[in-house]
Symmetry: C2
Subunit: 201 residues, 2 copies
């Protein structure tokens, strides 16, 4: 594509690096930016730069944080002996939004994926083992996607943890609440029958 200006070409090239953003969407974003006030666009640019340069990670759980230890790890109200293992901060945010979980997290920062060159060493797995050893942890809840990478990661973790005196559980799988049976995939539906739970009146 030919761009009428070098500035536009640079901005389009940078913006189209976002996942799911192609050149055409990037041009639309550029047009949007050109219509905004200068100070608003500067605010966006600075927020993006500050995000990457000033971000900190919790020294204990690996979650993003503004402090050395994140709010969840530092809270005396949370059950510090239960650890929910998740892939990234989106999962932390999703679980926090349910208001149903009162333990702590451990953010792996990805999933094992040999195809993409992501081995166990690049993930926060050693720090999890260290935490369990030193923190008297009682339960590990695996809240990891049921994909090939997720299953590989859970399998690797469960082998690493199998001799430790802790309970390991996984979030339940099944038909979504409010979900219609006819639209569920066969594997989920089949598993939801195999993993049926007693009906309590």
């Amino acid at each position: 594509m030919n761009y009428p200006s070098q500035l536009i070409e640079e901005a389009v090239n940078e913006l189209s690096k976002f996942p799911g953003v192609g050149k055409k969407s990037a041009v639309r974003m550029v047009l949007h930016l050109l219509k905004q006030k200068e100070q608003d666009v500067t605010k966006l640019g600075e927020a993006v730069i500050k995000l990457r340069t000033q971000i900190q990670y919790c020294k204990r759980c690996g979650n993003v944080s503004d402090f050395d230890i994140c709010n969840i790890c530092a809270s005396p109200k949370r059950d510090q002996q239960t650890i929910c293992v998740v892939e990234d901060l989106r999962d932390v945010m999703a679980i926090e939004n349910t208001n149903q979980y009162n333990g702590t997290y451990h953010v792996l920062g990805g999933l094992i994926s040999p195809v993409n060159g992501i081995g166990p060493d690049t993930l926060n797995i050693d720090s999890l083992i260290e935490r369990i050893k030193t923190e008297n942890t009682k339960e590990i809840i695996m809240a990891i996607s049921a994909t090939m990478e997720g299953d590989t990661t859970v399998f690797y973790l469960s082998k690493k943890l199998k001799d430790m005196p802790i309970n390991i559980s996984s979030i339940s799988r099944g038909i979504a609440i409010g979900g219609e049976l006819e639209y569920a995939d066969e594997i989920t539906l089949g598993r939801s029958i195999a993993l049926r739970v007693p009906y309590n009146i």
Copy 2:
């Protein structure tokens, strides 16, 4: 939504101002940025800021440009007496990519849309009239979308231009080349019959 960090909240708020980007997509963009190198993210932020603060518009046609007069207006190879009137720079880029047009452009910077508070005064219409008067223009080609706003703008322009000694034309409408008749909408198909052209062997 609760964000684990102020920096993330700010970046998500800014990124979700892009058209078609919601909070969830913005979080995905933030996660992507956190995985990039610091210098790459800084490059993106600076490209965005530079885009808005350093951009210039061609004094003649209103297109985005790195100079006072854009490359197209300055080119001696282009037919300077034909002006193609378009909404914004995306249309200029699309038409330039066809390699079928050799005249100049005039970028309106939007379309008349009373609902959104965009009147003729906020568009580059006066400068178009001025150009036609001073540049000995022979033809105006309207390359404007066939939407309500587009039709309103074309109607307004054609009334403004009707006493001037120029030809006014509009890009042809019809079934796309390679498009299948059965999938065309009724209005386009009906118009394509009414506007049929002689068949030349």
